[in-house]
């Protein structure tokens, strides 16, 4: 015990005496461990922890697929859901979910500030299927999930807290949604989510099998719990699908169920990104360890002789080992302590600022087991390499140690080779991380430079859902939006005000089959599909969507006037190849037989994502197809957000109880559309920054240690006629040699590893030559730069002093 304290004090003193060594070692370890723990924890939460449902591995998601149209994840038609549910034997339970938006218009005590909520209409069987118990009250009974039954609602935990102050007696009270009374049955557990996060209210789906209006659409997501094996489920539902194709060819020709495991489906899009990030932080942790190993080796080599001498003078091997161990452990613990802070901070930032597309990211928290793993890795590194001088100074090699460098000698060969190997490894790892980041960055730049088809700068958007409000009636909607638009247009700084039911880049939204008049009817299952938008005449101007042919929509296109539409270029090109779409007549299923004339063609906009495909889009004039929820698009002369409150005020002037939602700029919408790619790029980019630093520190450390070890040799060379330039060449050559080996190894490694990044890269080949070359040059420059400082020192050596140096 006495020795322990003595060693500890001595260790602290020695580390304090070498502040640069200590700082670099501790920071290096902290960065490596911090980054690794943070990402490991995120990966663990998002990918590895089981979903919070009973037997989660048996849960499935079922979509519909149409291989002929190359679509594999389409919503499900209610008729098909009901057929699967009825005939599926290998499936224990099945539930359907539909995304909806509902306005909260009244609280248990009457008036409440209205708000549009994210909701899901769900089958009553969903909660027993998942094995989820409510926190308060109860879930739906089967009879409450019938068409025409009374209105019931379940609240999310966060809505309950936020809007109802966590009222424990909420169950049984009545709130108003869409201006209808709904009885609150209960509150779900915190963070409960099935398909999408952030859903506030759940209401029964109340599917009506005989309702022909809804039977033809595809709008359900289906969750199932399997009883048999996945293959059994697939085979069985496929045969049900084949029957449905016969029974309902108009709906189902070419369509089949498409089955996935729920866990895979939820993380599908981010799994690869997370593994890549994990590999990157693994590299960082390794690099940090390599760096520290190198620092310790260099230090150990300096002390090798001291220790050999001590041993020769009779110091017990055990004492020497304990002393060295104490130092290594102190370093690892210091780095670990700082790393713990770093990772806690990083996880906080990730959980709060990460994209919504990463499921359960918000629940990520520091996992002490994973931190323990990183700490053990660095402790082992510290112990193994910290003990090197003791190994060197032991037994048989004692005289060799004393001899080596004993006669005006130069550095020991074995240690130098090990240090060089380590630094080459480090450079190779840095190459891999830097190339990965470089690829992502290039892909991201490509992605950002995609023309979305509109001009996002200086456009404010605001969603105005009329449902349940006093302007919801079809005859009032048109007048309401016209009035709102007129009022906003008079605000200073507003140039144009448009309205659309679904903004670009926010999803496919409503779609419908259609037919071009005068063309032979295609077979069932081959009827073309277009996205449907309702827009005000000013929409194209406000968004900066160019008119390509014909005319835009006009105020004169009223409900009483002839039915007209504007189509996008993709639709025009596909259905009037080589000719003009203007004057063509189109029958749109959704508009129930209404045949409209094409009066104009506008440019394409990306409906779903910057990297998504162009869809055929049909624009209806709002006055002819008035929907309940519209998003106003306000083009401004200055900062759009500065007008947000003025615009909201104008809406509330017309109806103080009208909720508004999603007040944001079009640039935010674009940013959101690339949030996933940005997240990956920023994260991997910052890891690359760390890797870059570690590599620079690593090579600097090794070269400058080399210079100090070769002082004597440099003196000799100078005495034998070496010019300063020769000395510089000697040192830089050393750095260059390490760099070349490291870069070549890194190129090979990256060539293999970046293949895994395929789908994360937009428009960039995983073996993009430009990136590989640029990163090689970058790292070569770093290596030379890091060797340059020590080479200056070597050049400035006084040969007389250098010759005396031992």
């Amino acid at each position: 015990m006495h020795f322990f304290w003595q060693d500890l004090r001595y260790g602290v003193r020695l580390l304090g005496k070498a502040p640069v060594f200590t700082t670099v070692a501790v920071l290096t370890l902290a960065l490596g461990m911090g980054a690794a723990t943070a990402i490991f924890s995120v990966v663990d939460t998002v990918l590895l922890k089981p979903l919070p449902f009973r037997d989660a591995e048996r849960l499935l998601v079922i979509w519909e697929k149409n291989p002929a149209q190359n679509r594999y994840r389409m919503f499900v038609a209610p008729a098909n859901f009901l057929a699967w549910q009825k005939q599926g034997r290998a499936v224990e339970q099945m539930a359907a979910v539909q995304d909806v938006r509902v306005s909260l218009t009244g609280g248990p005590n009457g008036h409440i500030t209205p708000e549009e909520l994210k909701g899901e209409r769900v089958s009553a069987s969903l909660f027993p299927l998942l094995g989820v118990e409510p926190k308060v009250g109860r879930t739906f009974r089967p009879e409450e999930d019938q068409p025409g039954s009374a209105n019931f609602v379940l609240l999310s935990h966060s809505l309950w807290q936020r809007r109802f102050a966590g009222d424990p007696g909420i169950a049984g009270k009545t709130i108003r949604l869409r201006d209808q009374p709904y009885t609150v049955l209960g509150v779900l557990p915190p963070a409960f989510a099935v398909m999408e996060a952030g859903v506030d209210v759940f209401i029964p789906l109340g599917l009506n099998p005989s309702d022909t209006r809804t039977a033809n659409g595809r709008y359900l997501m289906v969750i199932a719990r399997r009883r048999g094996s996945l293959d059994q489920v697939r085979a069985e539902l496929d045969s049900v699908g084949a029957q449905m194709e016969q029974a309902l060819p108009a709906l189902d020709k070419g369509w089949r169920p498409s089955i996935f495991v729920l866990g895979d489906e939820l993380v599908g899009g981010v799994r690869q990104a997370l593994w890549v990030l994990m590999a990157a932080v693994g590299c960082l942790l390794l690099m940090a360890c390599v760096n520290v190993a190198n620092l310790l080796l260099a230090r150990g080599a300096n002390r090798g002789k001291e220790i050999a001498l001590r041993a020769a003078l009779g110091a017990g091997r055990g004492r020497i080992v304990t002393q060295l161990l104490t130092e290594s452990v102190l370093l690892a613990l210091g780095g670990g302590g700082l790393g713990l802070f770093l990772s806690a901070g990083a996880i906080y930032v990730l959980a709060h600022a990460g994209p919504a597309s990463v499921p359960r990211l918000a629940q990520a928290s520091l996992d002490l087991r994973l931190f323990g793993f990183a700490l053990v890795v660095s402790l082992v590194t510290g112990i193994v390499f910290g003990l090197a001088p003791a190994m060197q100074g032991s037994g048989t090699s004692l005289s060799a140690t004393l001899n080596e460098g004993g006669r005006g000698g130069t550095a020991g060969g074995a240690g130098r080779r090990l240090r060089n190997t380590l630094v080459i490894t480090e450079l190779a790892l840095a190459m891999v991380v830097l190339i990965g980041a470089g690829l992502l960055m290039r892909g991201f730049i490509r992605l950002r430079s995609v023309d979305p088809g509109f001009q996002p700068a200086r456009v404010l958007t605001i969603r105005v859902p009329l449902a349940g409000g006093r302007n919801a009636a079809p005859d009032r909607r048109i007048a309401f939006f016209r009035q709102v638009a007129d009022r906003i247009a008079t605000l200073p700084g507003v140039r144009a005000v448009g309205a659309v039911n679904a903004l670009p880049l926010t999803g496919l939204g409503v779609g419908s089959n259609f037919a071009v008049e005068g063309r032979p009817a295609p077979g069932a299952g081959q009827r073309p599909l277009a996205l449907l938008r309702s827009v005000s005449p000013a929409y194209f101007g406000a968004m900066g969507i160019p008119l390509v042919a014909g005319r835009a929509l006009a105020d004169s296109d009223t409900a009483q006037a002839a039915a007209v539409i504007v189509v996008n270029q993709t639709l025009a090109r596909r259905f009037w190849p080589g000719g003009s779409a203007i004057g063509g007549r189109v029958a749109i299923d959704q508009n129930v037989g209404r045949v409209a004339e094409v009066v104009g063609v506008v440019g394409d906009v990306k409906p779903e994502g910057m990297d998504g495909e162009d869809w055929p889009i049909i624009y209806n004039p709002y006055a002819q197809v008035p929907l309940q929820a519209m998003t106003l698009t306000v083009r401004t002369t200055a900062l759009p957000l500065a007008l947000a409150s003025a615009v909201t005020r104008e809406v509330h002037q017309l109806d103080p109880n009208q909720p508004v939602a999603d007040v944001r700029t079009m640039e935010e919408v674009v940013n959101l559309a690339v949030a996933g790619a940005r997240f990956n790029t920023v994260l991997l980019g910052s890891f690359a920054g760390v890797a870059f630093l570690l590599a620079a520190v690593g090579i600097y450390g090794v070269i400058s240690y080399d210079v100090s070890q070769r002082t004597n040799e440099i003196g000799i060379r100078m005495a034998l006629g070496a010019q300063p330039a020769d000395v510089r060449r000697l040192i830089l050559g050393q750095g260059a040699r390490l760099a070349v080996y490291g870069i070549v190894a890194g190129l090979l490694g990256a060539g293999v590893l970046t293949r895994w990044m395929g789908t994360m890269l937009f428009g960039i080949n995983p073996t993009d030559g430009w990136t590989f070359t640029a990163i090689s040059i970058l790292l070569a420059v770093v290596a030379l730069g890091a060797s340059f400082v020590p080479s200056r020192r070597a050049m400035a050596l006084d040969p007389v002093i250098a010759l005396r140096h031992e």
Binding site: T410, E713, A719, L720, G721, Q723, V800
Partner: protein, 231 residues
Amino acid sequence: MIKLRNLEKFYEGGYGRSYVLRRVNVEIKEGEFVTIMGPSGAGKSTLLSILGMLDSAWTGEFEFLGHMVHRMKPKERAELNKKYTGFVFQSYHLIDNLTVYENLDIPLSYRNVKSSERASMVCDTLDRFHIVGKRDLYPSQLSGGQQQLVAVARAVIAHPQLILADEPTGNLHSSQGKEIMELFKKLNGEGTTIVQVTHSVDNATYGNRVIQLADGWVVSGGSETSKSAQV
């Protein structure tokens, strides 16, 4: 060949300047074989490294083959050294991670010698010093005497006009020491100027003149004619 006038060297210490060389006036003609002697710490090695242009922190005048060294930039001095001098160090100073062959090659690598010629020069030298069998060994695999031999070989390999040797026989067997001295004698006979530092009176007899140093002063032998250097 060499003229030193009032050359002085000092270190700034805690108690002011401590002089290592004082008002040194030395003249060495081409073809001479000069021995520098004196007690330990007298400044012999210091003087030798000044002659070899390794040390440039001194005052006074130093003329070398007509070049005014005291007016030259460090780079030019290094050029002079490279062109004319070969150096044998007091503690051999071989480079540990290079083989004997590679050690011998260093001086040639810094002079514009064609690589084909370099190989044959190294082989000749190995031959001349009877160390052909050691060519691929590392210095740590040689005895002290053998290392000394390699150090001498390395100093003469580039055919310098001036050889500066600091205790070249310090660790050698007396017979080996004699061999080195005979070699110097032979080189001297062929026209090479030699300046050696030694404690051995035997070795001194190979030279034509002894410069006595004590406490940084030249006590005697500063030039061929005057027997006393004191002015």
